[in-house]
């Protein structure tokens, strides 16, 4: 995953301006901001509200409604673990406990070394090959605690290269 840029109101305004011509521009803007900065800074709220002629409350409400948008920077890698039924049928609950234990963090938290943030998701569409995960958007099938360790190590190597 590309390193995120530090928050900049000027840069954010530029990104917002690129999207204002869209019908229903709020979500595309929020996705673009999060892709650039790794999170949606509180400073973006008035900028979006001004650009789209919305109230700050409407923009804030939108950001907090959706699970994807975060208000603070995450770890260097994003680990999404599927908690839905098809993965449960393959023992995902037990594997998740093991993974969270090894990483030393809980759901929605970042590891102490800042390397990974763990988020629960409900279905990745890999339901015949569960348990499933996404690491920085890359799918992992037949997940185990060991295979997650390997995949994370590999992602870290690729990021360094």
């Amino acid at each position: 995953m590309a390193r995120h840029e530090p928050w900049s109101a000027e840069r954010a305004s530029g990104i917002i301006a690129e999207h204002t011509h869209l019908e229903g521009a709020t979500l595309p803007i929020l996705h673009a901001l999060q892709a650039t900065f790794g999170y949606v800074d509180g400073g973006a709220v008035p900028l979006i509200a001004d650009a789209l002629n919305l109230s700050r409350a409407e923009v804030h409400g939108c950001i907090t409604f959706y699970h994807d948008f975060r208000a603070h920077p995450a770890g260097r890698h994003e680990v999404k673990l599927c908690r839905a039924e098809a993965c449960q049928a393959m023992g995902s609950d037990k594997i998740h406990r093991e993974i969270l234990g090894r990483l030393g963090c809980d759901w929605h938290e970042t590891t102490a070394d800042g390397s990974a943030t763990v988020e629960p998701v409900y279905c990745l569409g890999l339901c015949a090959n569960g348990p499933a995960a996404l690491i920085d958007g890359e799918p992992v099938a037949h997940l185990t605690a060991d295979s997650l360790d390997e995949a994370l190590a590999e992602t870290k190597r690729e990021t360094r290269q």
């Binding site: 409604f65 959706y66 839905a84 039924e85 049928a89 569409g125 339901c127 099938a141």
Partner: protein, 519 residues
């Protein structure tokens, strides 16, 4: 002469190492001086065989799978490029029984073609449906969809022709076609597979809908959990504009259709069509009260046709082959084919497109080969997290909208999740409430509050605190949620809960009623 190798780029195949296999094949072929071209396809949906590599030979395609990077050298040494013998050789992929016994009307190109190539799509029969549609007037197209008996494949099963007709007749300067690609149900992946493997089928179906209803703009609302599908759709749409199958003059007809893909943001509720429209407008995904129906006042208050990926992708075949040909498949009022997704604890999971009417048992045993764990099947959830859990004695129920409803279940989006005998049904029932509490949009009280009270009460049952009394309370709560919720989220959460309690009572009464003081 160059040999073509087909390596899937479907998310399942990627999750099992397909990119590494593709790189190893390319490097290994180069070392051996073999001239190969690698085409990245979608998946045929035989997921236990992924990554499944296919080779184009003069006698047709030959498949190998599941291929690991460590197999690549041995495969190349065994003359993979000419279809040579090897332990992983599967032969003609279309003769693999799992696939050969299906009726692939909607998925016939998926896993075969280069998903982002308009030329490859057309070489495999693509755009014949739109060409046929352009020879008809709007009424003629809508009549074909109506006469095919096609019902909304997202879950509700509403007759597609009626919806199309309403939007066609609606007055408005600007109309929209919106595809619901927020496939959030656990155990479903048909939409994902289609968008990654044959996105032009969706684009063609939506274009036919636009021509029929008079819409000139369209959106695909895609869930953010599908980054691969997002990339493929964006590439396909860009190539479609280039090739003149999207834009201001589609196929030289003078008709306009502009299509865009938009990402959701992790909210399950946005699969509900009015919540989806709110989200598409840039708001919180809060469910709207109906009426007005979206067909009359949808996106930005304009007439909007909202259909699921599987509904749109059934349409090109119907227009090409005729309504009657489609209606010849299926049973009763469930006509055509259903893309069944077999998932969970299953040996041979994947996509099974069959005429309506096949029983759950046939799918799980004949196609799926039983559980992956090798233990007996105990419970089967059909139709996603809001679908019922079926016990063994109900597995002879046919997959048909009415037959499933008669057993207090639903077909939903066609997902089947198999659990073996280690499943704890009280935990599953609790999860149904927990999921509803997490994903409720919060607009109506029965769903917002009911789900949380449901978790709390189920926790008492699980702890053995007055289980009989608390189960009665849950039954009462479920009745309120069913009758009083604004949409299917709260309205159907009782389905998995009550089916678990009804069919697996032993999991809820492990402790007898304790004295009140214990509470």
């Amino acid at each position: 002469m160059s040999v073509t190798l087909y390596v899937p780029r479907d998310a399942v195949a990627l999750g099992l190492g397909a990119n590494k296999v593709a790189r190893a094949l390319f490097a290994g072929a180069e070392r051996r001086g073999l001239d190969v071209t690698i085409v990245r396809t979608g998946s045929r949906g035989l997921f236990w065989l992924e990554p499944m590599v296919e080779v184009g030979t003069p006698e047709g395609r030959v498949a190998y799978g599941p291929v690991k990077v460590s197999d690549v050298d041995a495969l190349l040494d065994a003359s993979l490029t000419t279809g040579g013998e090897h332990a992983l050789r599967l032969g003609d992929p279309e003769k693999i029984p799992f696939l050969a016994r299906q009726q692939r009307l909607t998925f016939h190109r998926c896993g075969v073609v280069d998903p982002v190539s308009v030329a490859d799509y057309r070489a495999h029969g693509g755009y014949r449906g739109l060409e046929a549609a352009l020879k008809l007037d709007a009424e003629g197209i809508v009549a074909a969809v109506r006469d095919s008996g096609l019902r909304g494949r997202g879950g509700a099963g509403f007759p597609a022709g009626i919806k199309w007709n309403t939007v066609m007749l609606a007055k408005g300067e600007q109309k929209y076609v919106v595809c619901n690609a927020d496939e959030g149900d656990s155990g479903t992946f048909a939409d994902r597979m289609m968008m990654e493997g044959d996105p032009f089928n969706l684009i063609e179906g939506m274009t036919i809908a636009a021509v029929a209803t008079g819409a000139t703009r369209g959106y695909i609302y895609l869930r953010s959990e599908y980054p691969q599908a997002f990339a493929t759709l964006k590439e396909a749409i860009a190539n479609g504009i280039q090739a003149g199958v999207l834009g201001d003059d589609i196929l030289g007809s003078g008709k306009t259709f502009h299509l865009e893909v938009r990402l959701g943001a992790g909210a399950y509720i946005c699969g509900e069509e009015t919540s989806l429209l709110e989200s598409l407008e840039g708001k919180r995904g809060i469910v709207r009260a109906k009426p007005p129906i979206p067909a009359l006042k949808g996106f930005l208050g304009k007439p909007t046709l909202v259909n699921n990926v599987m509904t749109f992708t059934a349409v090109p075949w119907i227009l090409e082959h005729g309504a009657k040909a489609y209606a010849d498949y299926g049973m009763g009022r469930s006509l055509g084919t259903l893309p069944i997704q077999l998932a969970g604890n299953i040996k041979h999971g994947g996509l099974i497109e069959l005429a309506f009417g096949v029983t759950l048992r046939e799918v799980i045993e004949d196609y799926g080969g039983g559980t992956r764990s090798g233990r007996p099947v105990r419970a089967v959830q059909v139709g996603g997290p809001l679908g019922a859990y079926f016990p063994d004695h109900l597995l002879d129920t046919p997959l048909d909208y009415e037959a499933m409803a008669a057993q207090k279940g639903l077909v939903g989006h066609g997902g089947i999740v198999v659990f073996d005998d280690t499943v704890d049904m009280a935990a599953q029932a609790r999860f149904a409430f927990e999921f509803c509490a997490t994903e409720s949009c919060g607009k109506c009280t029965p769903c917002r509050i009911g789900a949380t009270r449901g978790v709390e009460t189920m926790d008492k049952v699980i702890a053995g605190i007055r289980p009989e009394t608390n189960l009665k309370l849950i039954e009462d709560l479920c009745e309120v949620m069913t009758d009083g919720s604004l949409c299917a989220m709260g309205g159907l959460t009782p389905m998995p809960v009550m089916s678990a309690i009804t069919h697996f009572p032993e999991d809820f009464r492990r402790a007898g009623d304790l004295p009140v003081a214990a509470e």
